[in-house]
């Protein structure tokens, strides 16, 4: 069996469906391939979807159309030790009205919705369709073969939106054959059932307001962090753990998450909750320096497949970059059709548009943050330092107080060391 389209998109996640939607709206015939039984079946993420400016032309009132759980009005960063936590919270009235800055969503619902929008615009969605190989003719990518029946799909342009391991990019010779475990993290997540009223009370929320909490500490020294997000009537609790660090410390991801659930301040938030679903996926955390080639003859690489992910410790961005890259790849494919030129130099307009957008600007801006976060002190000694200082400040135990400076210097010496602190402040300053 052989079928021909104007464009093939591999993967119906946020990048792929955004690309398919853009091209279908311009009248191209598009095959959108998804290996799951439905789009989103295989997909998981932390849980917060940032505002998708890329899709605001198509969905001017996105918040009335997309399926989401809660919109985020409360942001919290928490440094925790075994028995204490130091919190920085930001609550904003402005975040409580549309266009919302971020939402908690479930991927099997959200990705399915976005793919259906691409179908409404005219794209052909083929589910249960795992791509086996890339067809290369005269050095140009001209299609893909399917694992199920060996069927060939042909198109002058293929968009790889097949996620973090992107075998499509690999087979087209655009990514390295192996990955560095220091640049990949595994995200594991427990979805926890909890009545809406309990979530509202515990997190101080009303209506469909949501809260997000990023947690540093209590990972047994493994480089990584924890997140806790509120869905409508469930919580998402998970960790992103650097693979090389897990190996060094000889830890399993689920043992670390189980231990964290026992931390007293976290345990209070989770009390009474019941585990609904457990999921895991890789996160490309190496930033700009681990990106593959974005363009080849007849092919473009988008989203996670192109390692478009920003982890600064404060922000975790991925889907917003994926959607923008999908839209821009779609636009480049439309231009290529106008010019009837699908060569690498023609499709290079995709890279150029990315350079001009926030995608590559932000990835370049935060280029140094993976290196900054490759620092074990952040994940154990700094939470100890912050909580230790707060404990000294608030503790009343009949002993006379030291001056603040003396106490601070003492605590710094006990935990991080003054020299390290100065080096880390400098590297943090440069990275952020």
């Amino acid at each position: 069996m052989k079928r021909t389209y104007d464009a093939i998109v591999v993967g119906a996640g946020p990048a792929g469906s955004s690309a398919a939607l853009t091209m279908a709206r311009a009248g191209l015939s598009v095959a959108l391939l998804e290996r799951g039984a439905f789009p989103g079946e295989k997909n998981m993420f932390g849980g917060v979807l940032h505002r998708l400016t890329a899709l605001e032309d198509v969905f001017p009132d996105f918040w009335n159309q997309a399926p989401w759980e809660r919109h985020i009005v409360k942001k919290n960063i928490s440094f925790i030790t075994e028995g204490s936590s130091f919190n920085v919270s930001f609550d904003s009235e402005e975040a409580d009205s549309p266009p919302y800055n971020g939402y908690t969503v479930f991927r099997p619902k959200f990705d399915n919705w976005l793919a259906e929008e691409a179908v409404k615009a005219g794209a052909t969605l083929l589910t249960r369709s795992t791509v086996d190989d890339v067809i290369i003719e005269n050095g140009k990518v001209t299609g893909v073969t399917m694992l199920r029946d060996g069927a060939e799909l042909h198109a002058p342009v293929v968009i790889a939106a097949d996620g973090v391991l992107s075998f499509v990019a690999k087979k087209a010779g655009l990514r390295t054959a192996t990955f560095d475990p220091g640049k990949q993290g595994v995200c594991i997540k427990a979805l926890i059932d909890m009545p809406k009223e309990v979530i509202d009370d515990r997190f101080g929320l009303v209506r469909d307001q949501g809260a997000s909490k990023e947690i540093v500490g209590c990972t047994s020294g493994v480089r990584g962090g924890t997140f806790l997000y509120t869905n409508y009537d469930s919580l998402s609790l998970g960790m992103v753990l650097e693979l090389a660090s897990l190996n060094e410390k000889d830890k399993t991801p689920y043992d670390l998450l189980n231990a964290l659930m026992q931390q007293p301040q976290i345990a209070k938030l989770l009390k009474g909750g019941k585990l609904l679903e457990y999921s895991a996926h890789l996160v490309p955390k190496g930033g700009y320096d681990m990106m593959p080639e974005l363009v080849g003859d007849g092919i473009m690489v988008t989203g996670d497949a192109a390692a478009m992910c920003i982890i600064t410790g404060i922000n975790l961005e991925g889907i917003n970059l994926a959607a923008e890259s999908g839209v821009l790849a779609g636009k480049a494919a439309i231009d290529a059709h106008h010019q009837r030129d699908f060569s690498k130099s023609s499709l290079a307009s995709y890279r150029k548009m990315l350079e001009e957008s926030f995608v590559l600007k932000d990835l370049k801006l935060y280029k140094r943050s993976p290196q900054m976060l490759h620092n074990d002190r952040i994940f154990s000694q700094y939470p100890e330092l912050l909580c230790g200082v707060m404990d000294e400040i608030y503790r009343i135990d009949g002993s006379p107080k030291e001056t603040m400076t003396k106490m601070l210097l003492g605590k710094i010496k006990e935990t991080v060391g003054l020299k390290n602190l100065m080096a880390d402040v400098y590297s943090g300053w440069r990275a952020l």
Binding site: P108, F167, V186, L191, L275
Partner: protein
């Protein structure tokens, strides 16, 4: 609350294929001195038997996350691909 991977089929859904989508070269695993896959796999699909000197991978509860593909430093896979369309893990919410 606790994540107990012995009970993973109680909370995460799978459409299990007959054939595994990941196959190991036993000889490479036997010679390996790292075996990072055993601890790093978030679904505990890899078990090393010291007695039999054998690595076992059970694909039934594989979450298709990609961790083993990245942590294996010896490329011990004679096959590593995603399951055939429609098979494997099936998230409902998450």
């Amino acid at each position: 609350m606790n994540i107990n991977l012995d009970e993973i089929f109680d909370y995460t859904s799978f459409n299990i294929d007959r054939d595994p989508h990941i196959v190991l070269d036993e000889n490479i695993c036997k010679e390996c001195d790292q075996r990072f896959c055993v601890n790093a796999c978030p679904a505990c699909c890899y078990t090393w038997s010291e007695e039999e000197q054998k690595m076992t991978f059970v694909h039934d509860g594989c979450l298709e996350c990609g961790t083993c593909y990245v942590v294996c430093g010896n490329n011990a896979f004679t096959l590593w691909r995603y399951p055939r369309g429609g098979f494997g893990v099936s998230y409902r919410m998450t």
